[in-house]
């Protein structure tokens, strides 16, 4: 059964149509990679899923529940949006850690603010945060502030922070593009280990080899459209569409 279904999402900014008729679905425990050239709408799509942008058209279902329907204002009530966006986690390109909190505090802040609703104890949240940092290989960095961490370490803290709320679907927006090449490996390793644990993920990336390895499904976007989708074998190794071929050729030329 699909955990996520996206139907006919459209989004425009001013006069520019940025997303056109975006539809796809994702099975629980699977990894979806979104590839495409700059400006093709990948970030905007992730932002729509996370309620940071409001699509003009379309519906989004998680489980069987309609969490967004552009035609139904009842699905867009601010108070409920706050809860509904917790189905998704988002890891930003430039981490966006909170500078005034330590690594551990970054991870535990949101769960602690939510403790009244979830009934979790501070000790429980703390222990959970530590376990997540350990999973990221950062237990010895728990008391470091973001500016004392390398980019790769910061991104791993950001991943732990997103996981702390146990989202159904974890989204990554080019998680390694802001990193020096020697630091991308450690972040990709962590994401790979999450995939092995059957974490449902959507990963926007320019790391073609990584996408081919980790993804169960690949979407190629261009000009706000999904041009091609399928398994990595289909889309990356044997693209059918001319635009996909061109994009990949350009990519592998440079790589």
């Amino acid at each position: 059964m699909a955990i996520l279904e996206v139907h006919n999402i459209e989004k425009h900014f001013k006069n520019v149509q940025v997303l056109n008729d975006i539809s796809f679905s994702l099975e629980k425990g699977q990894v979806l990679s979104i590839i495409g050239s700059s400006g093709s709408g990948k970030t905007t799509l992730l932002r729509c899923l996370n309620f940071l942008e409001k699509p003009d058209q379309g519906t989004i279902l998680v489980g069987d529940q309609v969490i967004f329907d552009a035609a139904d204002p009842a699905t867009q009530i601010e108070k409920e949006v706050r809860k509904k966006r917790l189905h998704f986690g988002l890891v930003f390109q430039n981490f966006n850690l909170f500078p005034q909190y330590t690594a551990l505090e970054n991870v535990t802040l949101a769960p602690k603010l939510m403790a009244k609703e979830t009934g979790r104890s501070p000790e429980d949240i703390e222990a959970d945060g530590l376990a997540l940092l350990a999973q990221m290989g950062l237990e010895d960095r728990k008391d470091h502030y973001p500016h004392q961490l390398s980019g790769g370490q910061q991104q791993r803290v950001a991943i732990a922070r997103a996981l702390a709320l146990q989202p159904d679907i974890l989204c990554f927006d080019e998680p390694t593009s802001a990193l020096d090449p020697e630091l991308t490996g450690e972040v990709l390793r962590v994401i790979r280990s999450l995939a092995e644990k059957k974490t449902t993920m959507i990963i926007v990336t320019h790391e073609m080899a990584f996408a081919r390895d980790v993804a169960d499904q690949v979407i190629f976007m261009d000009g706000g459209y999904i041009v091609e989708q399928g398994t990595p074998e289909q889309v990356i190794n044997h693209p059918k569409e001319e635009r996909t071929k061109q994009f990949l050729a350009r990519y592998f030329e440079n790589a």
Binding site: N50, F51, L52, R82, K83, R85, L86, F88, G89, L90, F92, N94, N96, L97, F98, P99, Q100, L109, A110, L113, M114, Y145, P146, H147, R161, A162, L165
Partner: protein, 236 residues
């Protein structure tokens, strides 16, 4: 004589400190309110536009923001001394109703003028601080399911404070010296206290002696701000 002058100046100093503290007490929070007002995005005509065709300038008109910015412009654009005179003498002169005619009336009028003036200056600093926080911080809070209030208090506020300490300290040190304007409406603050010895005893040194008081006060504040900056140095 020296002791007599010292004590008399201390009294003037106390008035200045009172004015200083009361001004901060009210203008710091009021300034934040003014800052929020000037950042208000409320544009009621946006909805009206569905009925007819309003020009874009009208559709984007934000009345709260426009009004606060007008007030801030007037207050920052005119001398505090003038504002003080208008607030103190205005009601009696134009409305035949001296609302300040009670025990501490002068001082209260003075505090009101200072609070309005400083709230406007502070609001600009607050606004700059708030707008300098990257959008990504707010968005990170949002995707973690935080409410607007939680984001403001748990994510943004401390970062804003860190950024506004230097400009705020400037403004607050200026306030120390602006308290001397209170003499415009015959409040015996420090400078007036020092000057009074020129008339009564024909000596000028008490007037210059007041500088010691100002310098000590500002020195203390400088230490306080340096300490605060150090305290906030643990993050970037």
């Amino acid at each position: 004589m020296f002791i007599h002058v010292t004590l008399s100046l201390l009294e003037g100093m106390w008035t200045a400190i009172e004015l200083f503290l009361l001004t901060l007490l009210f203008s710091l929070p009021l300034g934040l309110l003014v800052a929020f007002g000037s950042m208000s995005k409320w544009a009621p005509l946006r909805h009206v536009s569905r009925l007819g065709h309003l020009p874009a300038a009208l559709r984007h008109f934000r009345p709260i923001s426009a009004l606060t910015e007008l007030v801030v412009w007037i207050i920052r654009g005119t001398p505090l001394m003038l504002q003080l005179i208008i607030i103190f003498y205005g009601p009696g002169m134009w409305f035949d109703n001296n609302i300040w005619a009670f025990g501490n009336g002068r001082m209260v009028a003075c505090v009101v003028a200072f609070v309005i003036n400083y709230a406007c200056y502070f609001s600009v600093i607050y606004r700059g601080g708030i707008e300098s926080i990257p959008q990504g911080q707010k968005e990170a809070g949002q995707v973690l399911g935080m409410t607007k209030t939680q984001i403001f208090f748990k994510v943004t506020l401390l970062q804003v404070i860190k950024r506004i300490v230097p400009p705020m300290s400037n403004e607050i040190i200026t306030l120390v010296k602006d308290t001397s304007l209170a003499r415009t409406i015959a409040i015996t603050e420090l400078v007036k206290a020092g000057e009074s010895f020129m008339k009564s005893d024909g000596i000028t040194w008490p007037l210059f002696y007041t500088m010691v008081y100002y310098l000590l006060f500002v020195g203390l504040l400088t230490l306080l701000f340096n300490w605060l900056e150090k305290k906030l140095d643990y993050f970037k």
